[in-house]
């Protein structure tokens, strides 16, 4: 718990929920007749609504990106390192909106919500949503908030994909896209990791074809395994080595299969915490959204053609030790942006933390990010 709130924190924040009656036809063909989105805002919207920034979350993220819900919170929002007064996304200049995507399990309509048609939880019947669907829902949220054009749409990993999709689907409504530690589409290896995660969940006996709530249980072991696999891919070998090495909980080998190495203990702990807070159906859905993301697909598989519509400026950032979405993945995007004749800057930050580096305020990352956001602020 913070004794007092840090001076560069957005402070205490309260999430808000907005209800949408207008049905949303999803890419899969199914229709959500109505839905809720939960979101938080930081900073003040200026009189001509030109200083709005949309923060898109990654796989397991949500609307609580910065600040604290109460003084008893142990940790601030997931991207507190980058959002706040004086931080790259400076809330003394920008009005920041962060939401939980459709299909989420933290307040927006998703598998844990009640299906109005059946008055029962959606569970596995919740339709598969895509990055494209999310962007449409986010545009509707912008309408309700009186924001016609985002000064910037910003995201890391899956969040970066949403920023990219924004630039293609709503070119008039986004002035800048900041795409961090992301990729224009998943590789076979990425999809393979997602499949292992999903299989871990669906093969848990407590999964019950996604209707675990009817059985008053959750596929905790499966979720835990899924997160453990995911977590390994978010860190680098070096970061893990530095944090845990081959440290053991006891000095001598026990010649058994209980947790002996510190890294095992850490992964188990992370997996357990995650399984207590995240819905299994949402995890399946979010990993599928990752797999399906491929904006070039509807443009003859030519990313350049997909990007041709974009009008915004792009900032693409990758991290040297990120092997989930390696710098090469970002460079593919940058090359296509150049081919499409777009305004783009790109940098690879030398950071040891792997994919998770996009959440960590290393000095050079903060410098470059701040420099770009200064440019965004000047355009307002």
């Amino acid at each position: 718990m913070p004794e007092t709130l840090p001076i560069d924190s957005v402070g205490l924040v309260t999430p808000q929920t907005i209800h949408f009656d207008q049905p949303l036809t999803l890419q899969c063909g199914k229709v959500l007749p109505e839905y809720d989105l939960i979101y938080e805002t930081y900073g003040e919207l200026n009189s001509d609504a030109s200083n709005a920034i949309l923060i898109c979350h990654a796989l397991s993220g949500h609307h609580h990106a910065a600040g604290y819900h109460s003084l008893s919170d142990k940790k601030p929002g997931w991207w507190d390192s980058c959002i706040g007064p004086g931080k790259p996304i400076d809330t003394s200049r920008f009005f920041v909106v962060s939401l939980n995507n459709l299909g989420g399990c933290h307040g927006s309509t998703g598998p844990t919500s009640i299906n109005p048609a059946t008055n029962a939880q959606y569970g596995p019947e919740f339709p598969v949503v895509t990055v494209k669907d999310w962007v449409i829902s986010q545009a509707r949220l912008a309408d309700k908030l009186g924001i016609n054009t985002w000064a910037a749409v910003i995201g890391g990993s899956l969040g970066g994909m949403q920023a990219l999709q924004w630039s293609i689907d709503y070119p008039e409504r986004i002035n800048n896209a900041v795409i961090i530690a992301s990729t224009p589409k998943l590789t076979a290896q990425n999809i393979a990791f997602n499949e292992v995660a999903r299989k871990a969940i669906t093969s848990d006996p407590a999964f019950h074809d996604g209707r675990y709530f009817d059985h008053n249980t959750i596929p905790q072991k499966g979720l835990m395994l899924a997160r453990m696999v995911g977590h390994i891919t978010y860190l680098s070998d070096a970061a893990m080595g530095e944090k845990f090495g081959r440290d053991m909980r006891n000095k001598a080998f026990k010649f058994g299969y209980d947790v002996e190495f510190e890294v095992e203990s850490y992964l188990n702990y992370q997996g357990e915490r995650f399984s207590e807070n995240f819905d299994a159906n949402t995890y399946l859905l979010m990993t599928r959204a990752l797999d399906y993301f491929d904006p070039a697909k509807e443009y003859d598989n030519q990313l350049e053609n997909a990007l041709a519509k974009a009008l915004c400026k792009f900032m693409v950032i990758s991290f040297s030790t990120d092997w989930r979405f390696s710098p090469e993945r970002s460079e593919i995007l940058v090359d296509e942006l150049v081919k499409a004749d777009k305004q783009v800057s790109y940098t690879e930050i030398d950071a040891p933390h792997g994919h998770d580096a996009f959440l960590i305020p290393t000095p050079r990352y903060m410098d470059v990010f701040s420099a770009f956001m200064n440019r965004v602020a000047k355009e307002i």
């Binding site: 460079e331 150049v338 305004q343 783009v344 800057s345 050079r364 470059v368 770009f372 200064n374 440019r375």
Partner: protein, 197 residues
């Protein structure tokens, strides 16, 4: 602005598309954007220079052209490709020159002239690798692995069928002085060339 950059500016057409390979802190591109409304990108590897470029509103791409080359750019996408004071630090400057002329109609390159009289005198008198303002490194830590002279460069252009559109030579303050042109290979410290296919 550095005098050599001013010379380069004269050779860049308003509204043209420019690629600045090894763009440094983005000073030239910023200047060209503001005064000549050019569009383009800078390529750079230094972290602090990249941040400077972004601060200046210059589109900069982190790219080690010595390793990656320029193959990620399509042919004839630029009007002018610029490389200031970097050719001599590349592993294959001749290949780079070809690549730059693949991407752009014209190329502007600048490099230190190793045949400058002071450099010659240094080597002759001391018998050691010359150190000067234009060449401030010792032999073992220099990034300049392919130093050449005006004559060398022009011989390469002849060999490759590259046409020299303009050339000028300046002193170490990048000032263009009339007497240098009398004997550029001896009196010029820095060479500035505009070439095309």
């Amino acid at each position: 602005m550095r005098a050599d950059l001013k010379i380069i500016e004269q050779w860049v057409k308003p509204g043209s598309r420019v690629l600045d390979v090894g763009c440094g802190d983005g000073t030239l591109l910023q200047h060209l954007q503001e005064n000549k409304q050019v569009k383009g990108y800078g390529l750079e590897i230094s972290a602090s220079n990249i941040t400077s470029c972004i601060n200046k509103g210059v589109n900069v791409l982190e790219q080690n052209v010595d390793e990656k080359g320029l193959s990620n750019f399509q042919s004839n996408r630029f009007d002018t490709v610029i490389m200031t004071q970097a050719l001599q630090a590349l592993r294959q400057p001749d290949v780079m020159l070809d690549e730059m002329l693949r991407l752009g109609k014209e190329c502007i390159v600048t490099f230190p002239n190793f045949a400058y009289w002071r450099t010659r005198a240094y080597l002759m008198q001391k018998g050691r690798m010359p150190i000067s303002k234009a060449l401030p490194y010792t032999w073992y830590n220099t990034p300049n692995i392919h130093l050449c002279t005006f004559k060398d460069f022009e011989a390469l252009c002849v060999q490759k069928n590259i046409h020299i559109l303009d050339r000028t030579v300046v002193d170490k303050e990048h000032q263009d002085r009339w007497f240098i042109h009398m004997w550029p290979n001896m009196l010029g410290e820095i060479a500035i060339y505009r070439v095309t296919r």
